[in-house]
Protein backbone atom coordinates (compact mmCIF):
# COMPACT_ATOMS: atom_id res chain seq x y z
CA UNK A 1 0.00 0.00 0.00
CA UNK A 2 1.21 3.51 -0.85
CA UNK A 3 1.45 6.09 1.92
CA UNK A 4 -1.42 8.52 1.46
CA UNK A 5 -0.88 10.96 4.33
CA UNK A 6 1.71 13.20 2.70
CA UNK A 7 0.09 13.28 -0.71
CA UNK A 8 -1.95 16.46 -0.77
CA UNK A 9 -3.03 16.56 -4.35
CA UNK A 10 -5.38 13.98 -5.76
CA UNK A 11 -3.61 11.26 -7.70
CA UNK A 12 -4.36 11.56 -11.37
CA UNK A 13 -5.30 8.14 -12.70
CA UNK A 14 -6.23 9.30 -16.18
CA UNK A 15 -4.76 12.20 -18.16
CA UNK A 16 -6.42 14.35 -20.86
CA UNK A 17 -5.42 11.95 -23.63
CA UNK A 18 -6.97 8.94 -21.92
CA UNK A 19 -3.62 7.51 -20.87
CA UNK A 20 -3.42 5.82 -17.48
CA UNK A 21 -0.85 6.36 -14.74
CA UNK A 22 1.33 3.51 -16.03
CA UNK A 23 1.10 4.63 -19.67
CA UNK A 24 -1.55 2.20 -20.82
CA UNK A 25 -4.70 2.97 -22.77
CA UNK A 26 -8.05 2.18 -21.16
CA UNK A 27 -8.46 -1.09 -23.06
CA UNK A 28 -4.88 -2.25 -22.75
CA UNK A 29 -3.76 -5.22 -20.69
CA UNK A 30 -0.56 -5.49 -18.73
CA UNK A 31 2.16 -7.77 -20.07
CA UNK A 32 1.62 -11.42 -19.17
CA UNK A 33 4.25 -14.11 -18.91
CA UNK A 34 3.37 -17.67 -17.90
CA UNK A 35 5.81 -20.49 -17.24
CA UNK A 36 4.73 -24.08 -16.72
CA UNK A 37 6.36 -26.80 -14.66
CA UNK A 38 8.58 -24.53 -12.59
CA UNK A 39 8.43 -26.78 -9.51
CA UNK A 40 9.82 -30.28 -9.63
CA UNK A 41 8.21 -31.75 -6.54
CA UNK A 42 4.65 -30.60 -7.16
CA UNK A 43 2.49 -32.60 -9.58
CA UNK A 44 1.77 -29.44 -11.53
CA UNK A 45 2.99 -25.89 -11.25
CA UNK A 46 2.93 -22.52 -12.95
CA UNK A 47 4.47 -19.10 -12.54
CA UNK A 48 2.77 -15.97 -13.79
CA UNK A 49 3.88 -12.40 -14.19
CA UNK A 50 0.97 -10.10 -14.91
CA UNK A 51 2.35 -6.58 -14.84
CA UNK A 52 4.08 -6.34 -11.47
CA UNK A 53 2.20 -9.30 -10.01
CA UNK A 54 4.41 -12.29 -9.46
CA UNK A 55 2.60 -15.45 -8.45
CA UNK A 56 3.66 -19.07 -8.17
CA UNK A 57 1.17 -21.94 -8.02
CA UNK A 58 1.72 -25.57 -7.08
CA UNK A 59 -0.87 -28.32 -7.51
CA UNK A 60 -0.96 -31.76 -5.92
CA UNK A 61 -3.34 -34.53 -6.69
CA UNK A 62 -5.60 -36.32 -7.00
CA UNK A 63 -4.33 -37.92 -3.81
CA UNK A 64 -5.56 -39.57 -0.67
CA UNK A 65 -7.58 -37.29 1.61
CA UNK A 66 -5.99 -36.45 4.90
CA UNK A 67 -7.64 -36.12 7.46
CA UNK A 68 -9.72 -39.01 6.22
CA UNK A 69 -13.14 -37.87 7.46
CA UNK A 70 -13.07 -34.94 5.01
CA UNK A 71 -13.31 -37.28 2.02
CA UNK A 72 -16.40 -36.84 -0.13
CA UNK A 73 -17.82 -40.20 -1.29
CA UNK A 74 -18.93 -39.03 -4.73
CA UNK A 75 -16.36 -36.43 -5.78
CA UNK A 76 -12.91 -35.06 -5.25
CA UNK A 77 -12.29 -32.50 -2.55
CA UNK A 78 -10.69 -29.32 -3.82
CA UNK A 79 -8.50 -27.44 -1.41
CA UNK A 80 -7.14 -24.06 -2.26
CA UNK A 81 -4.83 -21.82 -0.32
CA UNK A 82 -4.08 -18.30 -1.43
CA UNK A 83 -1.26 -16.70 0.48
CA UNK A 84 0.60 -13.44 0.22
CA UNK A 85 4.27 -13.37 1.14
CA UNK A 86 5.24 -10.88 3.85
CA UNK A 87 7.32 -9.00 1.26
CA UNK A 88 4.63 -8.95 -1.41
CA UNK A 89 3.37 -5.48 -0.43
CA UNK A 90 5.22 -2.32 0.62
CA UNK A 91 4.08 -2.47 4.26
CA UNK A 92 5.12 -5.86 5.56
CA UNK A 93 2.16 -8.19 5.61
CA UNK A 94 1.73 -10.43 8.61
CA UNK A 95 2.32 -14.02 7.56
CA UNK A 96 -0.75 -15.31 9.34
CA UNK A 97 -3.75 -15.86 7.06
CA UNK A 98 -5.85 -12.73 6.98
CA UNK A 99 -9.60 -12.46 6.48
CA UNK A 100 -8.96 -11.39 2.89
CA UNK A 101 -6.73 -14.37 2.12
CA UNK A 102 -9.23 -16.87 3.49
CA UNK A 103 -11.99 -15.26 1.46
CA UNK A 104 -9.93 -15.21 -1.72
CA UNK A 105 -8.97 -18.85 -1.24
CA UNK A 106 -12.64 -19.70 -1.26
CA UNK A 107 -13.44 -17.43 -4.22
CA UNK A 108 -10.60 -18.90 -6.29
CA UNK A 109 -11.56 -22.45 -5.37
CA UNK A 110 -15.13 -21.83 -6.45
CA UNK A 111 -13.93 -20.26 -9.69
CA UNK A 112 -11.82 -23.31 -10.55
CA UNK A 113 -14.04 -26.11 -9.32
CA UNK A 114 -16.59 -26.04 -12.20
CA UNK A 115 -13.76 -26.73 -14.63
CA UNK A 116 -12.49 -29.86 -12.90
CA UNK A 117 -14.02 -33.30 -13.44
CA UNK A 118 -14.24 -33.81 -9.68
CA UNK A 119 -16.74 -36.67 -9.89
CA UNK A 120 -14.13 -38.87 -11.58
CA UNK A 121 -11.95 -39.08 -8.50
CA UNK A 122 -14.24 -39.78 -5.57
CA UNK A 123 -12.63 -39.86 -2.12
CA UNK A 124 -9.55 -37.99 -3.25
CA UNK A 125 -8.40 -34.44 -2.96
CA UNK A 126 -6.73 -31.91 -5.18
CA UNK A 127 -4.65 -29.27 -3.47
CA UNK A 128 -3.87 -25.88 -4.98
CA UNK A 129 -1.29 -23.66 -3.31
CA UNK A 130 -1.05 -20.09 -4.51
CA UNK A 131 1.83 -17.94 -3.29
CA UNK A 132 1.81 -14.26 -4.17
CA UNK A 133 5.42 -13.09 -4.32
CA UNK A 134 4.60 -9.56 -5.38
CA UNK A 135 1.16 -7.95 -5.53
CA UNK A 136 0.03 -5.06 -7.67
CA UNK A 137 -3.71 -5.24 -8.14
CA UNK A 138 -5.66 -8.10 -9.67
CA UNK A 139 -3.88 -10.91 -7.85
CA UNK A 140 -7.00 -13.03 -7.73
CA UNK A 141 -7.40 -12.99 -11.50
CA UNK A 142 -3.71 -13.66 -12.06
CA UNK A 143 -3.91 -16.47 -9.50
CA UNK A 144 -6.81 -18.08 -11.33
CA UNK A 145 -4.95 -17.87 -14.64
CA UNK A 146 -1.88 -19.52 -13.15
CA UNK A 147 -3.80 -22.09 -11.10
CA UNK A 148 -5.78 -23.41 -14.07
CA UNK A 149 -2.55 -23.82 -16.04
CA UNK A 150 -0.97 -25.63 -13.09
CA UNK A 151 -4.00 -27.94 -12.88
CA UNK A 152 -3.63 -28.81 -16.55
CA UNK A 153 0.09 -29.36 -16.03
CA UNK A 154 -0.71 -31.82 -13.24
CA UNK A 155 -2.68 -33.90 -15.75
CA UNK A 156 -6.00 -33.32 -14.02
CA UNK A 157 -8.94 -33.61 -16.46
CA UNK A 158 -10.48 -30.19 -17.06
CA UNK A 159 -13.52 -29.04 -19.01
CA UNK A 160 -11.58 -25.97 -20.03
CA UNK A 161 -8.92 -23.66 -18.71
CA UNK A 162 -10.27 -20.94 -16.45
CA UNK A 163 -9.17 -17.49 -17.48
CA UNK A 164 -9.76 -14.31 -15.53
CA UNK A 165 -9.38 -10.56 -15.87
CA UNK A 166 -10.46 -7.57 -13.81
CA UNK A 167 -12.27 -4.52 -15.16
CA UNK A 168 -12.02 -1.34 -13.13
CA UNK A 169 -13.59 2.06 -13.17
CA UNK A 170 -11.34 5.10 -13.05
CA UNK A 171 -12.59 8.68 -13.40
CA UNK A 172 -15.95 7.29 -14.45
CA UNK A 173 -14.50 5.26 -17.32
CA UNK A 174 -14.08 1.52 -17.64
CA UNK A 175 -10.48 0.32 -17.64
CA UNK A 176 -9.14 -3.13 -18.42
CA UNK A 177 -6.85 -4.99 -16.02
CA UNK A 178 -6.44 -2.37 -13.29
CA UNK A 179 -3.23 -2.18 -11.29
CA UNK A 180 -2.69 -1.53 -7.58
CA UNK A 181 -3.03 2.26 -7.58
CA UNK A 182 -6.10 2.18 -9.80
CA UNK A 183 -7.63 -0.42 -7.54
CA UNK A 184 -6.99 1.73 -4.49
CA UNK A 185 -8.04 5.14 -5.77
CA UNK A 186 -10.40 4.14 -8.55
CA UNK A 187 -14.19 3.90 -8.39
CA UNK A 188 -14.64 0.17 -8.82
CA UNK A 189 -13.21 -3.26 -9.48
CA UNK A 190 -14.93 -6.16 -11.24
CA UNK A 191 -13.01 -9.44 -11.56
CA UNK A 192 -14.47 -11.90 -14.06
CA UNK A 193 -13.40 -15.51 -14.65
CA UNK A 194 -14.60 -17.61 -17.57
CA UNK A 195 -14.17 -20.92 -19.31
CA UNK A 196 -13.79 -19.25 -22.71
CA UNK A 197 -14.32 -22.28 -24.93
CA UNK A 198 -17.63 -23.10 -23.26
CA UNK A 199 -18.67 -19.54 -22.52
CA UNK A 200 -19.32 -20.20 -18.85
CA UNK A 201 -18.66 -17.57 -16.21
CA UNK A 202 -17.22 -19.03 -13.02
CA UNK A 203 -16.44 -15.87 -11.06
CA UNK A 204 -18.12 -12.52 -11.15
CA UNK A 205 -17.45 -10.09 -8.35
CA UNK A 206 -17.72 -6.34 -8.18
CA UNK A 207 -17.14 -3.56 -5.75
CA UNK A 208 -17.95 0.05 -6.49
CA UNK A 209 -20.97 1.30 -8.38
CA UNK A 210 -21.60 0.20 -11.96
CA UNK A 211 -24.66 0.91 -14.08
CA UNK A 212 -26.19 -1.99 -15.96
CA UNK A 213 -24.88 -0.62 -19.29
CA UNK A 214 -21.42 -0.42 -17.79
CA UNK A 215 -21.60 -4.02 -16.61
CA UNK A 216 -22.56 -5.17 -20.09
CA UNK A 217 -19.77 -3.15 -21.66
CA UNK A 218 -17.28 -4.37 -19.06
CA UNK A 219 -18.26 -7.95 -19.73
CA UNK A 220 -17.61 -7.54 -23.46
CA UNK A 221 -14.23 -5.97 -22.71
CA UNK A 222 -13.36 -8.81 -20.35
CA UNK A 223 -14.39 -11.47 -22.86
CA UNK A 224 -12.04 -10.08 -25.48
CA UNK A 225 -9.14 -9.91 -23.05
CA UNK A 226 -9.88 -13.38 -21.71
CA UNK A 227 -9.48 -14.90 -25.19
CA UNK A 228 -6.07 -13.24 -25.47
CA UNK A 229 -4.96 -14.62 -22.11
CA UNK A 230 -6.37 -18.03 -23.03
CA UNK A 231 -4.03 -18.21 -26.01
CA UNK A 232 -1.07 -17.28 -23.78
CA UNK A 233 -2.06 -20.02 -21.33
CA UNK A 234 -2.27 -22.66 -24.05
CA UNK A 235 1.03 -21.57 -25.53
CA UNK A 236 2.69 -21.83 -22.11
CA UNK A 237 1.36 -25.36 -21.63
CA UNK A 238 2.60 -26.50 -25.03
CA UNK A 239 6.00 -24.85 -24.74
CA UNK A 240 7.13 -27.20 -21.97
CA UNK A 241 6.78 -30.18 -24.27
CA UNK A 242 7.89 -28.43 -27.45
CA UNK A 243 11.11 -27.59 -25.64
CA UNK A 244 11.93 -31.30 -25.33
CA UNK A 245 11.05 -31.92 -28.98
CA UNK A 246 13.48 -29.14 -29.89
CA UNK A 247 16.26 -30.59 -27.75
CA UNK A 248 15.77 -33.98 -29.36
CA UNK A 249 15.96 -32.48 -32.84
CA UNK A 250 19.17 -30.67 -32.04
CA UNK A 251 20.82 -33.82 -30.72
CA UNK A 252 20.11 -35.70 -33.92
Amino acid sequence: MKKVSNITEVIKLLDENGIRSDGRRLDEMRKIKIEVGVLKNADGSAYIEMGNNKIIVGVYGPKEVRPKHLAIPYKSLIRCRYEMMPFSVSDRKSPSPSRREIELSKAIREALEPAIFTEEFPRTMIEIFIEVLEADGGTRTASINAASVALADAGIPLRDLVTAIAIGKIDGKLALDINGIEDQYGDGDMPIAMMPQLGYVTLFQADGIFTSEEIEKAFEMAKKAIWNIYEIQKKALKSKYLQIVKEVDINE
Partner: protein, 217 residues
Amino acid sequence: MIAEGKYKIEGAYYAIGKKYYSRVLGLTEVDNERVKVIPLKGKYIPRENDLVIGKIIDVGMTNWSVDINSPYTGVLQVTEVFSKPTSISRSSLSNILNVGDVILAKVIAFDFTRDPLLTIKEAKLGKVSKGTVVEITPSKVPRVIGKKGSMVNMIREVLKVNIIVGKNGRILVIGSKPEYEALAVMVIKKIEKEAHTTGLTDRIKSYISKLVNEEGE
Protein backbone atom coordinates in the same frame (compact mmCIF):
# COMPACT_ATOMS: atom_id res chain seq x y z
CA MET B 1 -9.01 -27.80 -24.79
CA ILE B 2 -9.05 -28.53 -28.48
CA ALA B 3 -12.49 -28.62 -30.06
CA GLU B 4 -13.43 -30.99 -32.85
CA GLY B 5 -16.28 -31.56 -35.30
CA LYS B 6 -17.99 -34.82 -36.25
CA TYR B 7 -15.46 -37.58 -35.63
CA LYS B 8 -15.01 -40.83 -33.83
CA ILE B 9 -13.06 -39.90 -30.80
CA GLU B 10 -11.16 -42.07 -28.34
CA GLY B 11 -9.27 -41.39 -25.18
CA ALA B 12 -9.47 -38.43 -22.87
CA TYR B 13 -12.28 -36.34 -24.29
CA TYR B 14 -15.75 -35.15 -23.43
CA ALA B 15 -18.61 -34.05 -25.62
CA ILE B 16 -21.26 -31.39 -25.49
CA GLY B 17 -23.73 -32.09 -28.27
CA LYS B 18 -21.62 -32.80 -31.33
CA LYS B 19 -18.67 -30.74 -30.21
CA TYR B 20 -15.78 -32.64 -28.74
CA TYR B 21 -13.32 -31.19 -26.32
CA SER B 22 -10.07 -32.51 -24.96
CA ARG B 23 -10.05 -32.79 -21.21
CA VAL B 24 -6.34 -33.07 -20.59
CA LEU B 25 -3.10 -31.63 -21.77
CA GLY B 26 -2.25 -34.25 -24.32
CA LEU B 27 -1.42 -35.32 -27.82
CA THR B 28 -3.92 -35.88 -30.61
CA GLU B 29 -3.47 -38.71 -33.04
CA VAL B 30 -5.52 -38.31 -36.21
CA ASP B 31 -6.17 -41.38 -38.34
CA ASN B 32 -8.81 -40.90 -41.08
CA GLU B 33 -11.89 -39.98 -39.09
CA ARG B 34 -10.65 -41.39 -35.85
CA VAL B 35 -9.11 -39.02 -33.36
CA LYS B 36 -7.30 -40.20 -30.25
CA VAL B 37 -6.43 -37.97 -27.34
CA ILE B 38 -3.48 -39.21 -25.29
CA PRO B 39 -2.79 -37.56 -21.95
CA LEU B 40 0.79 -36.52 -21.17
CA LYS B 41 0.48 -36.84 -17.42
CA GLY B 42 -1.89 -38.27 -14.89
CA LYS B 43 -2.40 -40.33 -11.78
CA TYR B 44 -3.01 -44.07 -11.80
CA ILE B 45 -6.63 -45.07 -11.35
CA PRO B 46 -6.90 -48.81 -10.58
CA ARG B 47 -8.77 -51.09 -12.96
CA GLU B 48 -9.66 -54.74 -12.63
CA ASN B 49 -7.00 -57.19 -13.88
CA ASP B 50 -4.27 -54.55 -13.92
CA LEU B 51 -0.80 -55.76 -12.97
CA VAL B 52 0.64 -53.36 -10.40
CA ILE B 53 3.80 -53.05 -8.35
CA GLY B 54 3.08 -52.02 -4.79
CA LYS B 55 4.84 -51.38 -1.53
CA ILE B 56 3.52 -52.57 1.82
CA ILE B 57 2.84 -49.55 4.04
CA ASP B 58 0.94 -51.14 6.89
CA VAL B 59 0.20 -54.55 8.39
CA GLY B 60 -3.32 -54.94 9.73
CA MET B 61 -5.14 -57.71 11.59
CA THR B 62 -6.16 -59.66 8.50
CA ASN B 63 -4.78 -57.58 5.68
CA TRP B 64 -1.96 -55.46 4.35
CA SER B 65 -2.22 -51.91 3.08
CA VAL B 66 -0.32 -51.43 -0.15
CA ASP B 67 0.86 -48.20 -1.74
CA ILE B 68 0.17 -48.61 -5.45
CA ASN B 69 1.20 -45.12 -6.59
CA SER B 70 -2.43 -44.00 -6.81
CA PRO B 71 -4.82 -41.82 -4.80
CA TYR B 72 -6.35 -45.09 -3.60
CA THR B 73 -4.53 -47.45 -1.24
CA GLY B 74 -4.57 -51.11 -2.20
CA VAL B 75 -5.79 -53.77 0.21
CA LEU B 76 -4.32 -57.25 0.25
CA GLN B 77 -6.39 -59.71 2.27
CA VAL B 78 -4.92 -62.80 3.92
CA THR B 79 -7.23 -64.97 1.80
CA GLU B 80 -5.58 -63.53 -1.30
CA VAL B 81 -2.16 -64.68 -0.17
CA PHE B 82 -2.79 -68.31 0.78
CA SER B 83 -4.73 -70.78 -1.26
CA LYS B 84 -5.72 -72.78 1.83
CA PRO B 85 -7.70 -71.32 4.69
CA THR B 86 -5.27 -70.46 7.47
CA SER B 87 -5.55 -68.86 10.85
CA ILE B 88 -2.66 -66.66 11.81
CA SER B 89 -2.04 -63.90 14.26
CA ARG B 90 -0.94 -60.39 13.45
CA SER B 91 2.69 -61.02 14.36
CA SER B 92 3.00 -63.86 11.90
CA LEU B 93 1.37 -61.68 9.25
CA SER B 94 4.33 -59.36 9.30
CA ASN B 95 6.62 -62.36 8.96
CA ILE B 96 5.11 -63.08 5.58
CA LEU B 97 5.07 -59.54 4.20
CA ASN B 98 6.42 -56.65 6.21
CA VAL B 99 6.32 -52.88 5.84
CA GLY B 100 8.60 -51.83 2.98
CA ASP B 101 8.33 -55.07 1.02
CA VAL B 102 7.65 -54.69 -2.68
CA ILE B 103 5.05 -56.94 -4.24
CA LEU B 104 3.84 -57.71 -7.71
CA ALA B 105 0.07 -57.91 -7.51
CA LYS B 106 -3.08 -57.86 -9.56
CA VAL B 107 -6.17 -55.74 -8.98
CA ILE B 108 -9.19 -58.01 -8.56
CA ALA B 109 -11.89 -55.46 -7.75
CA PHE B 110 -12.28 -51.72 -7.67
CA ASP B 111 -15.41 -49.59 -7.84
CA PHE B 112 -14.37 -46.24 -6.28
CA THR B 113 -16.55 -46.76 -3.19
CA ARG B 114 -13.99 -49.02 -1.55
CA ASP B 115 -10.26 -49.33 -1.79
CA PRO B 116 -8.98 -51.61 -4.56
CA LEU B 117 -8.53 -55.27 -3.63
CA LEU B 118 -5.31 -56.94 -4.67
CA THR B 119 -4.24 -60.55 -5.04
CA ILE B 120 -0.88 -62.31 -5.22
CA LYS B 121 -2.32 -65.82 -5.50
CA GLU B 122 -1.64 -66.25 -9.19
CA ALA B 123 1.56 -67.51 -10.75
CA LYS B 124 4.44 -65.04 -11.05
CA LEU B 125 2.82 -62.69 -8.53
CA GLY B 126 4.16 -62.18 -5.05
CA LYS B 127 7.02 -60.64 -3.17
CA VAL B 128 9.82 -59.09 -5.18
CA SER B 129 13.22 -59.95 -3.78
CA LYS B 130 15.60 -58.54 -6.38
CA GLY B 131 15.82 -55.90 -9.06
CA THR B 132 15.24 -52.16 -9.24
CA VAL B 133 11.92 -50.34 -9.32
CA VAL B 134 11.60 -47.24 -11.54
CA GLU B 135 8.68 -44.86 -11.18
CA ILE B 136 7.25 -42.97 -14.17
CA THR B 137 4.02 -41.14 -14.97
CA PRO B 138 1.36 -43.85 -15.36
CA SER B 139 0.03 -42.30 -18.58
CA LYS B 140 3.37 -43.01 -20.24
CA VAL B 141 3.31 -46.75 -19.52
CA PRO B 142 2.01 -47.54 -23.06
CA ARG B 143 5.05 -45.74 -24.47
CA VAL B 144 7.46 -47.87 -22.47
CA ILE B 145 5.71 -51.00 -23.72
CA GLY B 146 5.59 -49.70 -27.30
CA LYS B 147 3.47 -50.99 -30.16
CA LYS B 148 2.79 -54.66 -29.40
CA GLY B 149 5.57 -54.61 -26.83
CA SER B 150 8.23 -53.50 -29.32
CA MET B 151 9.98 -51.08 -26.99
CA VAL B 152 10.10 -53.29 -23.94
CA ASN B 153 11.20 -56.33 -25.96
CA MET B 154 13.97 -54.30 -27.55
CA ILE B 155 15.32 -53.25 -24.15
CA ARG B 156 15.01 -56.83 -22.91
CA GLU B 157 17.03 -58.20 -25.79
CA VAL B 158 19.75 -55.59 -25.98
CA LEU B 159 20.38 -55.20 -22.26
CA LYS B 160 19.55 -58.81 -21.33
CA VAL B 161 17.32 -57.75 -18.47
CA ASN B 162 13.86 -58.83 -17.44
CA ILE B 163 11.36 -55.99 -17.29
CA ILE B 164 7.98 -56.18 -15.62
CA VAL B 165 5.80 -53.15 -16.32
CA GLY B 166 3.15 -52.35 -13.72
CA LYS B 167 0.15 -50.40 -14.99
CA ASN B 168 0.58 -48.01 -12.07
CA GLY B 169 3.74 -46.51 -13.53
CA ARG B 170 6.19 -48.64 -11.57
CA ILE B 171 8.57 -50.74 -13.58
CA LEU B 172 10.60 -53.58 -12.17
CA VAL B 173 13.95 -54.24 -13.82
CA ILE B 174 15.79 -57.46 -13.01
CA GLY B 175 19.15 -57.82 -14.66
CA SER B 176 21.90 -60.39 -14.49
CA LYS B 177 24.39 -57.59 -13.87
CA PRO B 178 23.73 -54.48 -11.79
CA GLU B 179 25.29 -52.29 -14.51
CA TYR B 180 22.70 -53.38 -17.04
CA GLU B 181 19.98 -52.74 -14.50
CA ALA B 182 21.22 -49.17 -14.07
CA LEU B 183 21.37 -48.70 -17.83
CA ALA B 184 17.80 -49.93 -18.24
CA VAL B 185 16.68 -47.42 -15.60
CA MET B 186 18.35 -44.62 -17.53
CA VAL B 187 16.69 -45.76 -20.74
CA ILE B 188 13.24 -45.87 -19.13
CA LYS B 189 13.71 -42.37 -17.72
CA LYS B 190 14.64 -41.14 -21.19
CA ILE B 191 11.52 -42.73 -22.66
CA GLU B 192 9.39 -40.96 -20.06
CA LYS B 193 10.94 -37.60 -20.85
CA GLU B 194 10.66 -37.93 -24.61
CA ALA B 195 7.43 -39.91 -24.74
CA HIS B 196 5.66 -37.36 -26.93
CA THR B 197 8.28 -37.19 -29.69
CA THR B 198 8.26 -39.15 -32.94
CA GLY B 199 10.64 -41.94 -33.90
CA LEU B 200 11.18 -42.83 -30.27
CA THR B 201 11.96 -46.55 -30.59
CA ASP B 202 14.77 -45.99 -33.11
CA ARG B 203 16.27 -43.19 -31.07
CA ILE B 204 16.17 -45.25 -27.90
CA LYS B 205 17.85 -48.11 -29.78
CA SER B 206 20.80 -45.94 -30.76
CA TYR B 207 20.87 -44.45 -27.25
CA ILE B 208 21.18 -47.92 -25.74
CA SER B 209 23.97 -49.01 -28.09
CA LYS B 210 25.81 -45.80 -27.25
CA LEU B 211 25.46 -46.53 -23.53
CA VAL B 212 26.56 -50.13 -23.96
CA ASN B 213 29.65 -49.03 -25.90
CA GLU B 214 30.60 -46.54 -23.21
CA GLU B 215 30.17 -49.24 -20.64
CA GLY B 216 32.43 -51.57 -22.62
CA GLU B 217 35.25 -49.08 -22.72
